[in-house]
Amino acid sequence: MASENANKPDSKAPMVPSASTKPKNWVLLLLRVVAFCATAAGTIVMALNKETNTFVVATIGSTPIQATLTAKFQHTPAFVFFVIANGVVSFHNLLMISVSIFAGKFNIDYKGLRHGMVAILDMLNVALLSAAVNAAVFMAELGKHGNSHARWNKICDKFETFCSHGGGAIVASYIGLGLMLIISVMSILKLLSPKSTYQVANP
């Protein structure tokens, strides 16, 4: 079976000129850049999310007792996971962008497995990002509406800036997730189309 595959490129019709693959490469690169910006924005906005407020907790006689409370993203494990996962996905996108740009010059390849590795890594990052952003959005929903059955009070009426910044980070990350899904599908299609499997064998 190995010899059949090795013989096929020679007997096939002349290779498709790279003009038809160039537009697809540019589209993929552009999508990756936008996805990188979206996930990086999500990381940074959530990592810098912090709000301090002073409340009147009780009144003894005529003097009110005040307490200063801080809302930070580290208080919730879901948001910590969100920041870390968005950071990992941004780094992955950056790596793939640089591999796409510099692949021709430095001949980055390992036995022709480059497209395969890109497809597998894209798919794993889609799963990671989808887990992180959904956990964060449901925690945010809990913070916004509370849960009367479990006697959990909402916190968004007291910490409005914290909630709105967190909401913005989650929306940016959802945009990144949608784009990563499209990118992953395009990478897998690039792998599955018959032209690419034969081109990979001849760099």
């Binding site: 930070k72 919730t76 597998i120 799963a127 449901f138 997730l177 599908v185 499997t197």
Partner: protein, 164 residues
């Protein structure tokens, strides 16, 4: 590895994933418990929380998709669409288990910064059943991940065999 062996392994993995999703749905839906706290009846059901409702819906979609692919697997014309939809369903499964795990963590350990008390001491049986459903959901997500990696490996193996 012949094509027939590959097909048998993929069918087996999908069947396992289908079983895991059905187990997760059944255990989650049948989990409810009432407790008496200070003369108040306190009922814990899965539908109290939107996360667990989303968990059940997402597992149902994944299970339905597995069933559809198992039934229609004789036609191998749409195998590219199957791989693409596999990616989408894997993302859906990981998202549902992750969100449910985040809220269940709050239910079990509480969140002292937000003033949320853990509820597992009052309704221990409910907590146990939810834990079981989450384990089944986690297994379904991992099986789908393995299935996707196996499909991609099956496509890549001609490349492995070619000597450059």
């Amino acid at each position: 590895m012949t094509t027939k062996t590959k097909r048998i392994i993929t069918i087996l993995l999908r069947l396992l994933a289908l079983g895991a999703t059905i187990a997760a749905i059944v255990v989650m839906v049948t989990s409810h418990e009432s407790a008496q706290v200070l003369n108040l009846t306190f009922t814990a059901k899965y539908s109290n929380d939107p996360v667990f409702k989303y968990f059940v819906v997402a597992e149902a979609i994944a299970g339905g998709y597995s069933l559809l692919v198992l039934v229609l697997s004789s036609k191998s014309l749409l195998w590219r669409l199957t791989i693409i939809l596999d990616v989408v369903v894997t993302a859906l499964l990981t998202s549902s288990i992750s969100a449910a795990l985040a809220i269940a963590h709050v239910g079990k350990k509480g969140n002292s910064h937000a003033g949320w008390l853990p509820i597992c001491e009052q309704v221990p049986k409910f907590c146990d059943r939810v834990t079981g459903a989450l384990i089944a959901g986690f297994a379904a997500a991992i099986i789908y991940l393995v299935l996707l990696l196996y499909s991609l490996h099956a496509v890549l193996s001609p490349i492995f065999a070619v000597k450059i």
